[in-house]
Symmetry: C2
Subunit: 199 residues, 2 copies
Amino acid sequence: MARRTVDVRREEILRATVEQLAATGFAETRVADVAGALGVSTALVFYHFESKDRLLSEAFSYAAERDLERLERIKGSDAAPVLRLHKMLSLYGPEGGQGWTLWIEAWAAALRLPELQKVSRRLDVHWKDAVADVIREGVEAGDFRCADPNGAAWRITAVIDGLAIQATVHKGVVSRATLTRWAWQVAAQELDIDAELPG
Amino acid sequence: MARRTVDVRREEILRATVEQLAATGFAETRVADVAGALGVSTALVFYHFESKDRLLSEAFSYAAERDLERLERIKGSDAAPVLRLHKMLSLYGPEGGQGWTLWIEAWAAALRLPELQKVSRRLDVHWKDAVADVIREGVEAGDFRCADPNGAAWRITAVIDGLAIQATVHKGVVSRATLTRWAWQVAAQELDIDAELPG
DNA sequence: CCTCCTGCTGATTCGTGAGTCAGCGACGCC
DNA sequence: GGCGTCGCTGACTCACGAATCAGCAGGAGG
């Protein structure tokens, strides 16, 4: 069977696991499914990962890391704060739609798996901090007026979390478009800017 | 073994199941645990509920129904809209703290179990509608100024959802007190009222 | 060309938990 | 007081999925 180096194979397995997780959830993901999707034996998965729990949390961590990279790339760009913030919220918000399934699953799973909780906490805090940073920059640049950038960041991202849950779990109750509009509306209110969407 | 009527026993089982669900999650809840907590045999549970899936969604539905009753009682009281709204948000928000574990689990589980999704959707929509109704009353009474009561209700409850997730899953990142304060702050902004907490 | 190392597998073990079933005993009813 | 219903149980089956292991093959290095 097509042999790979450890690194390549591990990443292949992680990617397949993330897909499986997003598609069928933590509880319903079988090691056999992941192996099957790659056309390898289940034993191979255990050759590379010592247990299923380990595999799942490493896979989630892998997905999280890739997301944070994309976030940092936007945050570090030289666009105006308003634009950067809007891009960040767009990335955080709808983006894909498959992503949210994974985060919702992850929050629930994190209630029980301490290892997963650490990753999930790190990811969430990082996100809110990044938003807060950009808000602070915008305030300094005179683009925003905001007395509490940190609180504002938490409230804005919380609205998105809350709305995204509704949009993802109860399909139809809120549209993606409404989600985006409302999220930006809250941001505008918090930052004392025009509610018109940029771009 | 202490014999009961069907109704009594069913409710006993449902209550025990809700407790178990809140404590250990949907995925980790065993029929044997529920039975054990009541000191009865697992077979009895299957005597009253045709399958585990059925038991779980009925239990969640049972908990949801009790919550909605409490909500309606507050909503229907004759206090001023501001006070009623605040009470509703308090009920929705911290209240217990064990409740949120259940909702987070339920959202994740609803992604896969259609029966559960129906219940969860009904509950969520009912909540947002109730908040919107009280906002509308407040507007009519001249207590609030709000151009979009429905949107405001969704945004306010979404913030609470989002913050409650953080408080519940990532203990320590936001305190209950901060959650309450921020939620009310968003409400005040939406309704153009004083951000001071009533009561 | 041989030979290890190592990635990989098929077959198997093992634990666990959902669901079943034959029967028992309490209690209402005649 | 006998009897039939019905809530209830213990002891079981059964399926499924995580984890193991002895060994197989491909390819790099001598």
